[in-house]
Homo-oligomer: 271 residues x 2
């Protein structure tokens, strides 16, 4: 390939970095692809780093050593972050979301890539450099969000199932008590899905009583693994007795009495 | 903000475009954010377009008119595409993937963001400009891949459930016959999840007999909607009688007799 201009090279570098969040990429890769000396690529990277940081679009970190290179940490500017949380609050306030049983319909939010990708950047920002091995969720509604967090952290997703599937091979199943309704439920995870002694975070749509999170802790114990963090889109603060104490959320919500609607506000984590 | 250099502007434009696939972004947005005239931004965009096309990293299309602007269509170079399909084949050949019942364990592939994001770009490339409204899948294993396709197409995901959840409000439920084992199963979808007269595509991990795809067609009928395309990671060509005829896949697989392993090859769509 002929020589490319600096303009062209920084476009290609930006594209590759943003598509491989939290993955170390050696300068050789850029050097080969773009037919330029490593010293030239290093200068290009300075430009990419400076403008991304200036616009709060993420960080480019340098990793020294033989296995070194650069990696991209996704970011979102403070104002967009607050605006995003406020937009979610507005959407949740819509009374037509309340379905029989005083539950709130949030499926459309959880399956909208525009929303999920932003929420994923916000939640994952808490977990870089914590040595997380897997992002764990329970089927079904939290899967896209958990996937986005896993993609940003550059690690695999693990989905716990409610039932046993023949395609999963041997599984470990536990019973747990749902924090909200006190009912006994099951969680099942393939023995192959995780290496022992892993560090995991749990990502979901809602946190109510924390029973599911407690169940995941117990299940991870069976894999000699550890739950080191929890992140959700919505914290139901109407349920005051939680079985877990440390978690982050993007918005907080409380059902008002007599189906009069909801009180919703951005979480402290966002402000 | 002070004036930025062209190098800096093209980095920011690339970042915004790649994070908003298939979404029309007005030049005003770039002009405001980067404090530059629209004519300058237009020149920047030419640079971004040329290098992304040259490296087969995607296309930047111009949409004329009042609601116009530019949009980014993700792409993957032909060689990476083939290499990717061959890597999947290698992974699938591993005999330890065969679990009791002669099923193949593919959960690790379907939950790995590095794999799913590439497969998502490849499958979505078939469906740009087809006016797709929703990407549909059935829980659970295909969700991350379906989400990636939805993200690339800039449209919402719809997840069909096996059971009825209280948090979904009123649902439509149908019975269908699984193509592989002939058993009757259920699919359930919230009435709120889709506008009537929508065009949908179905994305999943495996296609065996096509019974699930046929079930989805029937369920979409209940929403006065239409299935206009199917894409899967793996086509099991050992099952020769399919209930659907048009679909794309990335690799083809056939179980050999007596659990002797698998025959796997890239699909024609890839080559």
């Amino acid at each position: 390939m002929e020589k490319l201009s600096r303009n062209s090279r920084v476009v290609a570098i930006t594209k590759i970095l943003t598509e491989n969040p939290n993955k170390v990429i050696g300068l050789n890769k850029f050097s080969d692809l773009l037919n330029a000396a490593k010293s030239t690529i290093s200068e290009d990277i300075v430009i990419v780093r400076e403008i991304l940081e200036k616009l709060q679009m993420g960080k480019v970190e340098t990793i020294a050593g033989a296995a070194g290179g650069i990696k991209f940490i996704p970011g979102i500017e403070d104002e967009s972050r607050r605006k995003f949380a406020e937009e979610i609050c507005e959407m949740l306030k819509d009374k037509s979301r309340i379905v029989p049983g005083n539950f709130i319909y949030v499926t459309d939010l959880m399956y909208d890539p525009q929303i999920v990708s932003k929420a994923g950047v916000i939640l994952s920002s808490e977990f870089y450099n914590k040595g997380v091995d897997y992002v764990v969720t329970v089927e079904t509604k939290g899967i896209p969000l958990a996937y986005e967090v896993a993609r940003n952290l550059g690690i695999p997703l693990v989905i716990i199932r409610r039932d046993n599937k023949v395609t999963e091979g041997s599984t470990v199943t536990i019973n747990y008590v749902s924090g909200t309704n006190g009912r006994i439920q099951q969680m099942s995870l393939s023995k192959r899905s995780m290496k022992p002694r892993s560090k995991c975070i749990f990502i979901d749509d809602f946190l109510r009583g924390g029973g599911t999170a407690q169940g995941i802790k117990d299940l991870l114990n069976e894999f000699e693994s550890e739950l080191i963090g929890i992140g959700v889109l919505i914290d139901n603060i109407g349920v005051t007795q939680k079985r877990v104490d440390e978690y982050i959320s993007i918005v907080q919500l409380r059902n008002l009495e007599d189906e009069q609607g909801l009180e919703v506000k951005p979480s402290n984590f966002i402000l």
